[in-house]
Symmetry: D2
């Protein structure tokens, strides 16, 4: 038996266009014909704006936060989020990505908790800190990438005598818009530690895994990617490929897939000698300059960067890079999500894009 | 060589807390410690609200739109979106899903175009209409589900003498927040037609596919799911399983995965006899009552529904259903996205939830 | 520390070539240089030979087996294997596939057991028989395909008043060469029956599956593929594609992959009008003529077939078919194994192959 | 329309049982009821026998082959296959695996060719040799594993002044029984070399891959696994896990799956202190002792081994190991094939198995 729904018997009320529009609003209905073009543009119209944060402006504020944001004021989350001005005051760097700087002073401890948004920490400066992830105490050195994936317990501990500053990358905006954020505090400030750098010991060489059928987890079981290794891989790839840039993805060694299911983690080494080809891709990226200096052009706007700077490139923007000296940029991107949903596109535009302005971070 | 970033040499400015907060804002930085709880709640705090749209309120407006929204006014997109009141005026039904009612009068044609958001059409009433999808003219009858996946050309044509009303389901909010919407008009109003119901002919029986290695597409190559088949499968499954409800997913016959990569499509048959167990799951659903009558309780609020009504259940809300007569509900859901990103959770709450209020659609 | 293995200190014995070869044999060593060409031919040198078994020669023997092979003589396995003459007396139809004819008289029961080789039954003639597979009593009618996959309990029961004859297809040669055959008798002759044609009821329509995340099994959960459905799908596909032949694969509706992991099951409908293009592929196939008449040319040798005949085509042989009337051929093939191991190749040879002889089944 | 096959009209010939069996043979039919138990044993009845080849017996023969098997006699394939005595004279080590020792003298070159069977080379002793694989010149040092996968061009070149001896592992018996062997000689003795150790340079660190979506190949793109890395990974894993043994699998860094699709490659480090738990698994393994000394018990038979020895364990045999000193064993196994086909099983038997005899390699 089919439905009993019938149109013919319905009587419409004879109202004019304006009154009709009012009736729609009263019934929580929106007319598509008034907004079709805006909802479905020919190419993406990102609200994310290209933006740049300068290390020499951010760091003093982070340090000051370390002084005045005491524990009573929530100092255990002493995090400054890079808030994209296009996102209506939301503390997000793009519509899908959260970038922030976190400052942990000597002797401080960020208490253990877990959440469904996944996080990574890219260490910018400092020593003597470790993050414990589900019992595995991962040491942190500059350039290291530490994963604290979806629902893993984690706490950060500074046992050294200097502060550490790292970049926090999260998928929080995405997981928030999916309405799937869960959070839980650990019963204790610090988890019990099973051992130090355990995951590194499991994955000590390329192409070798412990024998036995293990069903691969959603997120990489390798939790610490050491800078010494990353540096070596960049150098090796550059010897092999040459060119203006080489790029690495951090992957799950059990699957070859993204280290974290919900965003990509990349390391780019740029060499002086000119601008890279201009590319567009769906999805945004947040870059962290680990060392070097150069510029990135985004839809004609030049952003000049140096060590410690952070910038964001929106979806489908035309992007090229130029290093003034050998430069290393860490980046997070939502490309794995777009790929998983079959929404990823990229293209190389033929000509170098004209530069039409320069981003003024001083505003 | 590591980074040159150093904290020690930085001089902070001696400002007070309020001044400090102002300095942050000036540099597009947001302090996490002031909003951690709200950004990371213990369980999802959806902005999507449970809501219900009544057929007898929507249909007259849709019909009236058919009368006064002429072609000049954009009548080729005569679509009324179910706009969730929790989403700040956005024309979305949930943070990830778009639901709408589309009205196509006799002799009318909605011109050919394509877009990266995927769409499905669930036919509520009418005859004599077809949708051509990449050259395959799919006939539409009540209860049929027609797919127009990501970047497939499609146009709708009413060759009959009565209007058709269907439910539009799209992933537009998700694809918008991923900043990955592309749109293109076809050079002609109507595509060339290669044949009628071609995809159905390719997939004429369960468990049989054309021989030869075809790499499975992201979206189902079966474009029309006929109501007669769906009805038969519901009846068959109910004979097998019994109980208060049986549920089917529309899948890609080449992979067994979701028919569309970015949202799920389901058909539920409910039987009188009591309330179903209360469940929570991450992700929202939009239900379309095809026939029958009953009620759904969402976080204690009862929504009474009949044929043609549409309602939405937010992420992690407690939900149970009760049919007053045998009822068929079509639903779209973002569960496949949450599963792909390893963010899906569900649980059955032990007790039936208390009913604390009733949704008033008359407001 | 590396190995201590050293070549330099070894003293060889001064023996001549023949003596040396003898010394190798004494130590269970074989010299590759004497057999390299034979072990590694330029293209496959199958030991499987193209062969044909005629229904009018096989059926009387099967029937006679039904008369004289009593239960005491093992009549519960009244199976005649099509033994390829190229395989040194092994009861296998090709190096990977087992084909046989099984005869079950009225009132007879083939007792319940299970084994790791997977089996399928393609019904050639008879009524009133069913096979119970893990509690699901599957009715058998001519043209039906019944699966009894790896380690599923199964028993066959003839409750009718006529004999049934079916074709048995198994991966036994493959599983034997992998040394992975396990077998177990059920404690009782007949399993308890949970219901009749249960799997069919679960999968009653194309592209619809029961909602809820079920991890797909290695083998199809659909156990009975009815001839009425297969016939309909063949007719539908022919309307869509036209041509001399249409081919269907039996697949797992939860994955779109092969119904059985270890061999493929196909149905081919051939139409009069000429010879199909000549093709080669790695892997062998065993064909069962369900109805019709025609011929197949294999490496130049013509095999003329009619209803009930069975023939085998070896790996990489040149094969074309010609139907003298509309013909339906069931086939099993090891192609899924070759695909899974990345060893599958196929090619179409340009010209029709010359016919150089005709297979004489009378020998 | 169904089939026209009918049983009722067939007339059987009234023959006795012996005459009937003769008639079957004449028609290339084999009666299952006379061999069911042997074809379908309760647990695998491998024809592969446990066997051991001693380095001090094999090496002198390999060296002698180097002296008398000149190029005219096929010295470019100076390979001695470990021929399992259970396999009727076939030059195979098990029903699926080929193991051999290859000897390449100073200045010698094994000319370039390719074949669908995949091969690996595990270097036992020697220096100054390289294998070029599709243009990538892979250096070979003791303990290194070099892949020459399915259809990759390869040639071996000894530019040093000492011989090299390596273990060859192939899937040749499997690919032969699948009748899928293809072979081709390269037009030149030596391929052009694009570079040295290129694949190593691409994969220079764990968990890092070149950015950009590359569809993963069937076989690992990493072609050389250096012993220094393997040794380090074994040591690291032992620090982490402790115990009598640690085991590594060589995997494809782009997928985490087996380095070669058709057989597994493993490295085991055993420590003195007792016998490992007794295990059975489907599928055979061939072990190569790289260093150390110990014993392995297979179905009660003890095989004592030292550096350079090779032994094979059949499917479903009870196996345990004991090291008398720290020992490293390379192994190949068909487990990935059995897993891909859903035929893999393993179990730990409770008690240590009794030792009932000792293998006498002197025979």
């Amino acid at each position: 038996m089919g439905s009993m729904l019938e149109v013919s018997e319905v009587h419409t009320v004879e109202v004019g266009y304006d009154e009709f529009c009012g009736a729609l609003a009263a019934r929580d209905l929106k007319p598509l014909w008034r907004m079709a073009r805006q909802l479905m543009p020919e190419t993406p119209l990102p609200t994310t704006r290209p933006w740049l944060w300068k290390w020499d402006q951010v760091l003093p504020l982070a340090k000051r936060a370390g002084e005045i944001v005491t524990i009573e004021r929530g100092g255990d989350r002493r995090v400054l989020a890079f808030a994209n001005p296009g996102l209506n005051g939301l503390p997000y760097t793009s519509t899908t990505l959260w970038g922030a700087i976190q400052y942990l002073g000597p002797g401080e401890n960020a208490p253990a908790h877990r959440h469904t948004p996944s996080a990574v920490r890219f260490v910018m400066t400092g020593h003597g800190v470790s993050t414990t992830v589900d019992g595995d105490e991962c040491e942190m050195e500059p350039g290291d990438l530490i994963l604290t994936p979806n629902w893993n317990w984690h706490d950060h501990n500074n046992r050294g005598d200097e502060p550490m500053v790292w970049f926090d990358g999260l998928d929080l905006p995405l997981v928030s818009s999916l309405e799937a954020v869960f959070f839980e505090n650990h019963p204790r400030d610090r988890q019990a530690v099973e051992g130090r750098n355990l995951s590194q010991q499991r994955f000590a060489a390329v192409g070798l895994r412990e024998a036995g059928a293990e069903s691969p987890p959603a997120h990489s079981p390798l939790l610490r990617y050491r800078w010494t290794e990353t540096d070596r891989a960049l150098a090796s790839l550059h010897r092999l490929r040459g060119g203006l840039a080489v790029s690495l993805e951090f992957v799950n060694p059990l699957t070859g897939g993204p280290a974290v299911a919900t965003f990509g983690n990349e390391m780019h080494r740029l060499f002086p000698g000119g601008r890279t080809p201009t590319r567009r891709k769906t999805g945004s990226s947040v870059y962290v300059v680990f060392r070097g200096a150069g510029r990135t052009v985004v839809d004609g706007m030049e952003m000049r960067w140096g060590a410690g700077d952070v910038f964001v490139t929106p979806s489908w923007s035309a992007v090229d890079h130029e290093a003034f000296q050998v430069s290393d940029l860490f980046a997070i991107t939502d490309a794995p999500v777009l790929r998983a949903l079959h929404l990823y596109r990229e293209e190389e535009t033929g000509e170098p894009q004209p530069i039409t302005g320069t981003f003024d971070p001083g505003r």
